[in-house]
Homo-oligomer: 193 residues x 2
Amino acid sequence: MSDLPASAGDEAAEYIERLGRLLASREHAAGLNPSQWEALRFLARANRFSRTPSGLALYLGATKGTVSQTVAALRRKGLVEAERSSADKRSLRLRLTAAGRQLMARDPLLGFALAIDSQGTQSADCLREALARLLGALQRQNGLRPFGLCRTCRHFGRGEGAEPVRRPHRCRLLEVDLAEFEAGQLCSEQDAA
Amino acid sequence: MSDLPASAGDEAAEYIERLGRLLASREHAAGLNPSQWEALRFLARANRFSRTPSGLALYLGATKGTVSQTVAALRRKGLVEAERSSADKRSLRLRLTAAGRQLMARDPLLGFALAIDSQGTQSADCLREALARLLGALQRQNGLRPFGLCRTCRHFGRGEGAEPVRRPHRCRLLEVDLAEFEAGQLCSEQDAA
DNA sequence: CCTAGATACTTTCGACTCGCTACTAAAATC
DNA sequence: GATTTTAGTAGCGAGTCGAAAGTATCTAGG
């Protein structure tokens, strides 16, 4: 029907841009700016090794200076709290406060998710697959880390045994044991198997 | 495989956000900010009735004051030129300069389009369809105009006759004749048939 | 005609963002 | 122990964007 956007990719890229801008304006209206929302989402899902200003900078592709200000803003608003790492006294461990977790229930992204799911499972699945591939390809192309799930990393060692008495999972890179829930978190060191 | 993002929509929404941010940073690196790129793309594809600061404000969902500054920046950079409308001396007609058209060949969106198309026609088509529906749904939900193609509008009257001698197309809303190429442009008044 | 209000756009201001450079402190390396 | 690297902060400056106020022009009602 249309002719000026030549390929499906052209059109799709345009839609991504416009959806991104629409989302950004909703995020702004919801009280935080897009980076702050992204930071909140990251902190909610990243493992303890990645939940630092540096990890956040890697994830967001921003400089440390910028991230420092984002974190300062979130702490001022009482959404995030920080504590010096005992192992490395330069390092800050960040985590959401109760208020931060509460705010995530009003994440504008949820509205988008709803709109996507309401178009049917098939459409949503197709969208997820295609976007995941695209993001992966572009991240590689731009030299950014994928920040995948711990569980799917080549350094991940699955725990052995059945539920009541099982040995824990283990990260062979950092040489630490991992709880079950940590296997589903994001990691800045993740390297797909 | 994953479990924290509960539905396909959740994951897909997250990808859209991250792709949007990635695109924005590429756009910035390419010398213009995201709004300025969007404005350029809009001006390249909108019809003469919509190619004004007001039309742009509607399209971008921004205030007129903000758009005024975007346009001023683009004029300073020599990418856009403007001329007072003779019919309404308050109104500005905007259009790309040769430099503006040239710059569009370096639109970062083209890299995205390439990445999408390189994943195969099926994936790209699916993506385009799903994103188009999503954008439409969210625009309705947010009270934004869709800015569709003139040709697909309920006010559009197709020209009659064969090529050498044909009557022109016509917009029954504005009561004006339309050239063939204008039928494929964006219009702020567009209302899908 | 002429005044009131609507409309198109600009200007100014203020809050905020983000990258940059420079800095401190702690850790790692040699 | 000296040097380099790494984690994070501070302050500056360019620039963005929205809100509100201002100017110019158009339109409608009396």
